[in-house]
Structures are given as C-alpha cells and as structure tokens.
Amino acid sequence: MSLLDYFRSNKASSASVAKERLQILVAHERSSRNQPSYLPQLQKELLEVVRKYINVGQDAISVNFEQDDDQEILELNIVLPDHHTNKKS
C-alpha cells in the first residue's frame, strides 16, 4: 500500500456504490427480459379469480416464467392467508 492510499478515505467509494446498484438492476432486468408480455395481465386476472373465493392480498400471487433450452416453465405461486379454511367451517 502506498503512502497515497493511506490518506484516501475508507468509506465506500461512489464507484462501488454504482457497481452494486447496477448489479442488482441488471439482474432484475435480465430476469424479466425473456418473459412473455401477457404475464402482468395474467397475474392480474388470476388475482381477481382467486379473490372471489379467498381473501388474499395484492402480492399473494407470483407468476414466474423460466426458459431452458428445451422447456418453458410457468410457475404460479398463491400464498393463502393463515386461517382461511377455519372461517368457512
């Protein structure tokens, strides 16, 4: 370490902040890049249907689309509230 480095401050440099922000952003944008354009609409309509029967929140449904070389996977996740079955009985 040189004498100059010693006097440089130890706080996170703006470049490392930039790198971290970009890594998160690029990862997010790459994952949504190959998704079909109907996905947000599908998610919205599914939420409406589920809500007819179960009282779930806005973010209770997640729709994921993944693509491999030879297959496409549409993954649908619905998180039910803790005691929804008890209310019916």
Binding site: L4, A15, A18, L22, V26, R33, N34
Partner: protein, 269 residues
C-alpha cells in the same frame, strides 16, 4: 460475403460515431474493403466525423428508394481508398427506413465489400433496430457510468431477441465491449467504475478500452478519424481494438493510470 458489424450503445453521446469512423478506417487500412453506413436518418453526423460532409450528393434513403445507385451514393474516403462512406439522409425521418430496403442495400454491398460497419443511432427505435438487425458482430460502446451500462445491457437483450440471427435461430451475434471515455486516475480514486466492474456487470468480452482523450475532439474538429492520429492514446487504443478484432494478440493498454512524478515517488506497486 461481407461481415456486418453494428456499433451500438443505446445511450447517446458515448462515442458510437467516433468508434464507427475509427474502426472502419482501421479495417480499411489493414487492406479490407470496408463500407461504413450512417443509420441516424435525420441527424446524420458520420459524414462530418469522416470529413466528407461537402461531398454528400446521394444518401442511404436515395439508394433504398432507387433514386440513386450504390456507386453514386458511396463516398470514397480521401485518406484510404479501401474505405467508403454511405451517409444517412438529413431531410427524411426514420420511417423512411424499411427492413426490406436495408436488407437489399446490405446484400448488394456484401458482394463487393469485406466489412460493413453500421453506425447505429442512439435509442432503441427503428434506426437502431435496423442497424443491428442484420449484424454478425456487435460492438457495444459503453462509458463507465451507470446509465450507459444499463442501456448497454438493454441493447444486449435486443441483440439476442430482435435480430435476424435470433429470429432464424442461427448462431447469435458476437458481442464485444468497447469501454470508452475511461479515466484510470478516477478509477483509482474510486470515482469511476473500473473495466473489471463493467465486465462483471455485463459479462461481455472486452475488445478494448479507449481512454478519455483530448485527441477525440481534435479529430472530430478536423474531420479526421482519431485512429489516424497515431501518436494519440485514443488513436492507438482503436488501432489495438481493430487488431484484436482481427485476431491479433495485443495486451490491453490504457487501463492503468499514467504516473506523474508525484505518483512515481509516492505510488506503490
């Protein structure tokens, strides 16, 4: 059959036209018959950077519309007789470009040229799309700056999905990173993303680093591609880039800071 190179970036002002002028000149000087095409219809500037603005008679759109033939529109460069410039139209708008028209012109050029360099406009609209659509290789010009890096990543997405090679399920476009306006001093101070940072974020093959250099403005002022300024750092950086693209082994330069007297006395390593 020509190899088609697109010079693209998404973001404006990062050095696409400077790069197109430099690498097309570099390829031509290596003896390859090269054409460089301005795709920025309505805002043409390649002619100005190449110093042939007063010799433009017909343009790309005229050729597409059959109002002139290719030989009438192509301008032979005054420094190198292997290099030809096809200027964009200054009066039309981007809708004058069509995929069939561009394809036809490129096909005709392919018969006679070894390299075709497509200087893309900024943005992701028609001009940019058509500049990349037929490409075999893509030079992604990026500045070490957040918005430029993000836009470059967006262009990578488009190259992988909206090009002819992608649509035909052919071997994908080869993508190369050209990091321009690089200041090793500022990287050292932690004020600028490093080459390694940008490579890690974009995971791209690095073709070369072009340092921030006064010679670039001097070159554009006088309308001479910066690669002809062989004494300048930017000129040398572009010469290295052309050599590497053609398969020569060249160690990367301009990545570490120049040490002044002070740095030599006190700097480590």
């Amino acid at each position: 059959m020509a190899r088609i190179i697109v010079v693209t970036s998404g973001k404006g002002g990062v050095g696409k036209t400077t790069t197109s002028a430099a690498i097309s000149m570099g390829l031509a000087k290596k003896g390859f018959k090269t054409a460089v095409i301005d795709f920025d219809v309505g805002l043409r500037n390649l002619d100005l950077i190449m110093g042939c603005e007063r010799r433009v008679v017909y343009d790309f759109i005229n050729v597409m519309n059959g109002e002139a033939n290719l030989n009438q529109a192509l301008i032979r460069d005054k420094h190198c007789d292997q290099l030809y410039i096809l200027p964009a139209s200054q009066t039309r708008d981007k809708d004058a470009l069509s995929i069939e028209g561009v394809g036809k012109v490129l096909e005709e050029l392919s018969k006679d040229f070894q390299y075709i360099v497509c200087d893309s406009p900024a943005g992701i609209e028609k001009g940019a799309h058509l500049a990349m659509y037929f490409a075999d290789d893509a030079f992604i010009v990026t500045n070490p700056e957040v918005s430029s890096v993000r836009d470059s990543d967006r262009m990578l997405g488009l190259l992988a999905s909206k090009s002819r090679r992608a649509e035909r399920n052919e071997e994908p476009i080869k993508e190369y990173l050209l990091l321009s306006r690089y200041s090793p001093d500022r990287v050292k101070l932690g004020e600028m993303l490093s080459v390694k940072d940008v490579q890690e974020i974009l995971s791209l093959h690095l073709l070369g680093v072009i340092p921030e250099s006064k010679s670039v403005l001097n070159a554009s002022n006088s309308g001479v591609p910066v690669i002809l300024d062989e004494k300048s750092d930017a000129g040398q950086a572009y010469a290295d880039i052309v050599a590497r693209y053609l398969g020569e082994e060249k160690p990367h330069r301009f990545i570490d800071e120049k040490k002044g007297l002070f740095g030599k006395l006190f700097g480590g390593k």
